[in-house]
């Protein structure tokens, strides 16, 4: 069969998983994509592609894609739309934005961008912030719901990890998945976990749920929700009291150890066993692993721990174990983290944003701005606030008061369906030229297809909108290729150019250290790893990792906890990537695999309420109610239920509270994750229909 027009192109998967963004190999025939497979030349994914990545091709020709700009033709949420031209849509947006600027309320124009925009790393880091900065807008992004309190903890210790999973697979004697379930959310890490096991190493998972990763682990510890400071500090207690810690490293490279050591004395393993509801021998076994298995790598990739009232402290407590056990700056040790290659970030023009009282990217500030009406126009770029942000009923009322809501996306997301006035059609990742990196290499995301219908890439319409606002130099480049070459002018990107990248499906090496922090220099004020954080002291945060009970717990609010006796834990399965494109609903294969929200309930809790596997239940608390089907399973502990995130049934119930003060976000540029995981609910039988 002649197949002369068949070509192979390379790109990177459109999902924004961390720490691995897997390489893909695209087969194109007659201008259509006929196959998407893993890129065998990718340094970390090595040809593997998970269920989501394999289904990404279903995005391209989906009949559910938005193909033209749409304007609301009825009440908000009515589902009635009519098509408009790009010019008409942009005129309308510019008109409203200009009115706000002319009224001296520049900050009333807000832009929120998230995972759909992260796909093209350059949009995320440079071209979208550049638009918001030059236009003088409030800029919020998907970092805050995702991982911002984790980052705050890293910033406070001066240590960001930066190791990659391939290094762990090749060198670690132990890997600790602390509140991470890579088998469900980042399946490409699993071969590296198995590699550690095959070499005789151990895999540990710390998670209240029996996760998919827990099933592959040699040790699974199930601490009571939010008790991780006690668990980590008790491990430190054992290491210090037995002298089984790296004294030389702690003395030479760390700051505040004497205070930490004194602080840790109170975290007796026996007491920790009670507080964490974990057998003492498991805590001792974990300490043995930290003491004896070297190097030990911690997988703390993303934000699960940050979604607690005490998230910053929990992450700090876990980070402190890394230098204490002599694993900082060691090959195969450290902590896994995804982003290590910097672009030419000066192009984001953050120094050129006109002065105005912009609410910072912290949930408290966002909630206050929406509540007070200090924002009028919200442009959502590849994000989905109604799926991503907490306390949905409150949020709905807030969004309802905004003057203009614009959503730029591939599909009609929940925010587009229920709140938007204008919808702009987005290009898919194969319809524009872009870039992505692994921890060590830079990859081209080549343009493979013409944009569908009237879809336009973000920087193209932002350029037209900027011009309408009087900003002439938003896109000073002659072409996207020239633009990307400029974005690549950074020390880490070295001599990479688009033309060169196009010749290298295996990517081009970035200039990054072989082993992160091998020189023992940390990003803190003292240049050392800070057990006692001086920055925390300045910011009014606890100097040492301290325990605080979760919101709504029996200890912190006994009456509420009695009325709502179950913890609602948000979880992740293989089939979806939280808000991103709502792809689990719009793509047939993923939709078939997870057609609706399922609440996982322990048999004892189910029996106590007379509900059975498959029953429809009403789940409620003071913030709202949801109807879901249940699966009865011992995967969740008694006293807690779990629901996959992204379903609106979850965020109707989550609390709109972020523990990190706005002042910290103003100082550090991060922090402000809502305490999604500190949610109490009750369930009862009933509710056959989903609302």
């Amino acid at each position: 069969m002649p197949q002369l027009d068949r070509t192979i192109r390379y790109s990177v998967c459109p999902y924004n998983c961390w720490p691995v963004n897997c390489g893909i190999r695209v087969t194109v025939q007659n201008g259509r994509v006929i196959g998407i497979a893993g890129n065998p030349h990718h340094d970390i994914s090595r040809g593997r592609l998970c269920v989501k990545g394999q289904c990404s091709g279903e995005i391209l020709e989906s009949d559910q894609r938005i193909k033209t700009p749409l304007i609301r033709d009825g009440e908000r949420g009515s589902g009635r739309w009519k098509t408009v031209s790009w010019d008409e849509a942009l005129d309308r947006i510019a008109g409203r934005m200009k009115a706000n600027i002319d009224a001296g309320r520049s900050e009333a124009n807000a832009l929120y961008h998230s995972h759909g925009n992260i796909v093209q790393r350059i949009n995320w880091k440079i071209l979208t912030p550049r638009f918001a900065n030059l236009s003088g807008m409030t800029l919020w992004d998907g970092n805050f719901p995702c991982w911002y309190d984790v980052g705050t903890a890293q910033e406070l210790t001066g240590y960001w990890g930066m190791h990659d999973p391939a290094e762990a697979g090749g060198h670690a004697a132990a890997i600790v998945n602390w509140a991470q379930d890579p088998a469900a959310s980042q399946a490409n890490l699993v071969p590296y976990l198995l590699e550690v096991k095959e070499r005789g190493g151990v895999v540990v998972t710390i998670d209240p749920r029996v996760t998919q990763t827990a099933g592959l682990s040699d040790l699974h510890i199930r601490p009571r929700l939010g008790s991780d400071v006690w668990l980590a500090n008790a491990v430190a207690h054992i290491l210090i009291s037995e002298g089984a810690y790296d004294k030389a490293y702690v003395e030479s490279r760390c700051h505040g150890f004497p205070e930490y050591r004194k602080h840790i004395e109170a975290f007796d393993p026996g007491k920790a066993s009670d507080v964490c509801d974990v057998p003492r021998k498991q805590i001792e076994a974990l300490a043995r692993i930290y003491a004896e298995r070297k190097p030990l790598c911690t997988n703390l990739t993303r934000g699960a721990l940050g979604k607690h009232r005490n998230g910053i402290q929990m992450v700090r407590a876990v980070l402190c174990l890394i230098p204490l056990s002599g694993n900082a700056g060691k090959k195969g040790g450290g902590a896994i983290w995804g982003e290590t290659v910097d672009w030419n970030l000066a192009l984001a023009a953050s120094d050129r944003r006109p002065a105005a009282p912009y609410p910072v990217n912290n949930w408290n500030a966002i909630d206050a701005a929406l509540e007070k009406g200090s924002v009028d126009t919200l442009i959502v770029v590849g994000g989905n606030p109604m799926s991503q942000w907490p306390d949905l009923n409150r949020l709905k009322a807030q969004l309802g008061r905004l003057g203009l809501i614009v959503v730029y996306d591939l599909f009609l997301s929940q925010t587009a369906r229920e709140a938007a006035d204008l919808v702009l059609p987005a290009t898919s990742w194969l319809e524009e030229l872009g870039l992505r990196t692994s921890n060590r290499r830079i990859y081209l995301m080549d343009q493979v297809l013409d944009p569908m219908g009237e879809c336009r890439e973000a920087s193209a319409w932002m350029s037209d909108l900027a011009k309408r606002l009087g900003v002439r130099d938003y896109f000073p480049w002659k072409s996207k290729e020239e633009c990307l070459d400029d974005c690549l002018r950074s020390p880490a990107c070295d001599s990479a150019t688009v033309a060169l990248l196009r010749e290298h499906p295996e990517g081009i090496a970035a200039r990054v250290p072989d082993v992160p922090y091998a020189d023992g220099r940390f990003g803190s004020g003292t240049g050392k790893f800070e057990f006692r954080s001086e920055r925390a002291v300045e910011l009014g945060l606890p100097p040492l990792p301290t325990h605080e009970e979760p919101l709504e717990s029996p200890a912190s609010s006994p009456d509420l906890a009695k009325a709502f006796p179950l913890w609602l834990i948000s979880s992740r399965r293989s089939t979806h990537f939280h808000s991103f494109h709502e792809s689990h609903r719009h793509l047939p294969t993923l939709n078939a695999l997870e057609p609706g929200p399922v609440l996982f309930v322990h048999p004892k809790d189910a029996a106590a309420r007379g509900v059975r596997d498959g029953d429809a239940v009403v789940m409620w608390n003071g913030r709202g109610q949801s109807r879901v089907r249940i699966e009865v399973t011992t995967e969740v502990a008694t006293g807690s239920v779990s629901l996959n995130d992204c379903w609106p049934e979850l965020n109707r119930l989550t609390p709109g509270f972020a523990p990190c003060p706005e002042s910290v976000t103003r100082a550090l540029g991060m922090g402000g994750q809502p305490a999604y995981q500190n949610t109490r609910v009750e369930i009862r039988k009933g509710g056959e229909e989903r609302p």
Binding site: C55, A187, V190, Q212, T589
Partner: protein
């Protein structure tokens, strides 16, 4: 007799569902039709007894679907025992679905015919692995040709969550540490 079987090492399957998607895209099954599924058995004692079972058509030795098919759409290949389904000959009567003890046969209302895993016959005839096997991250799923008279002792025919129907003779073996 030499026959082709799936081997599933349950200690390496972590329920990632990659095999399901690989099957859909390699075989271009109709929208939302999944030939392969992953069953989950929640833990009784501890995390490590959680079982994920990646299952599709078992290409049975005495395939009940072949016997039930009135049109000859279903047939058993003599060379390696693969059970093939020919949609062009399928009447859409769904007798095969009723006969299959494993619920492995799908019916698509849009095309009005049944379909099922073909063991990626086209691929294996070219010397390649079935799509589900090729994609498996954990190396849990394999394809093997075994001599049914002399199977390795560690190949289990039964495992919790999977009902062995000896009269059908399913072509799947399990490994469990």
């Amino acid at each position: 007799m030499m026959r082709r079987v799936f081997i599933l090492d349950t200690s390496k399957c972590f329920g990632c569902l990659g095999c399901v998607a690989a099957c859909v895209h390699a075989n271009r099954t109709p929208s939302g039709v999944l030939w392969r599924e992953v069953l989950k058995l929640p833990p009784e004692e501890g995390s490590r007894d959680t079982l994920y079972l990646s299952l599709a058509c078992n290409h049975c030795e005495n395939a009940p679907c072949v016997r039930a098919c009135p049109s000859g759409a279903l047939s058993k290949r003599s060379t390696d025992g693969v059970v093939l389904h020919d949609p062009d000959q399928c009447l859409g009567c769904r007798y095969c679905q009723m006969a299959c003890p494993y619920g492995a046969i799908r019916y698509d209302a849009s095309t009005k015919v049944t379909s099922k895993c073909q063991f990626c016959a086209d691929r294996i005839d070219e010397g390649r692995e079935p799509a589900c096997v090729e994609t498996c991250f954990g190396g849990a799923l394999r394809m093997e040709i075994v001599d049914s008279e002399a199977e390795p002792a560690e190949y289990r025919k039964e495992i919790p969550g999977f009902v062995h129907h000896p009269e059908a003779g399913p072509g799947i073996r399990f490994l469990r540490k």
